[in-house]
Amino acid sequence: MMNSILMALTGGALIGLAASLMLILNGRVTGISGIVNGFIGDVRKDLWRGAFILGLLIGGLALGALQPDMFVNTSGRSVGVVLIAGLIVGFGTVMGSGCTSGHGVCGIARFSVRSLVATATFMVIGMLTATLFNALVGG
């Protein structure tokens, strides 16, 4: 437990550093759903969005080669559940203008009321959903 708390803190600090570089250098919020949605909206207009997504993918590729344990998935969720989850996440994050990175990290760091409300909403609903799913279907 102590170890995973330290890892979470370290990883979180790296996420905060990445978002800081994006802000200080490019003047932008590192909201991943917004960047992906903006990218599929107009692939040619803003190359930086594509470059950021490529960085995430290549980062994942490199990390997966070095530390495959980080990508082990033992959640037991079926392909069907994962597909439905992805569809709802895509729809919801565009409708709600953000996800865990944009609202949860960047928005809260600048004390945005919108982001505080959004984060509280998706945390509570996420907790209710995971808890109910476990109770009804089994985790």
Partner: protein, 146 residues
């Protein structure tokens, strides 16, 4: 592409790399850990709460930097959202996101990073997520303008 946008593109790539490492190190790329955090009751794993506790104070420093500077280093203006209104789509959309997050254990960043690592479920998730984003565009076209 001009020099400035080339630098911005390079910066965004490096930011993506660091972000991916942060997600992997923190445990966010393991859906069972995310679900273990969201799932209350016996065996609750609070460790992922510390991702935000690690990230937010670090990022607050850069917003302080922002207040003292007229422009970012590689652009001529800031692109930070200024909207303050709490709207219905904000709350409904966030609730939907929470539903999908609790169901699948993936949010967009970790899903993309894990897809890059070749994780099969994450690849399915990302494809469905892109479809969901497209679906919202269709929905918005019929509800907002229609």
């Amino acid at each position: 592409m001009n020099k400035t946008s080339m630098k911005q593109t390079a910066a965004a790539f490096v930011v993506g790399l660091i972000f991916a490492i942060g997600l992997g190190v923190s445990g966010m790329t393991q859906p069972q850990k995310v679900i273990g955090f969201l799932q209350l009751g016996e065996g609750w794993d609070p460790s992922l709460m510390f991702v935000m506790i690690g990230a937010i104070p670090v990022h607050m420093l850069s917003y302080r930097w922002m207040k003292g500077h007229r422009t970012p280093l590689l652009d001529t203006q800031w692109h930070v959202p200024v909207s303050k209104e709490v709207t219905r789509p904000l709350v409904v959309g966030s609730a939907l996101f929470g539903l999908g997050w609790g169901l699948g254990g993936f949010c967009p960043g970790p899903a993309l990073t894990s897809a890059g690592a070749g994780q099969e479920m994450a690849i399915y998730f990302v494809i469905a997520m892109l479809a969901g984003m497209g679906l919202y565009r269709l929905y918005a076209r019929f509800t907002v303008k229609g």
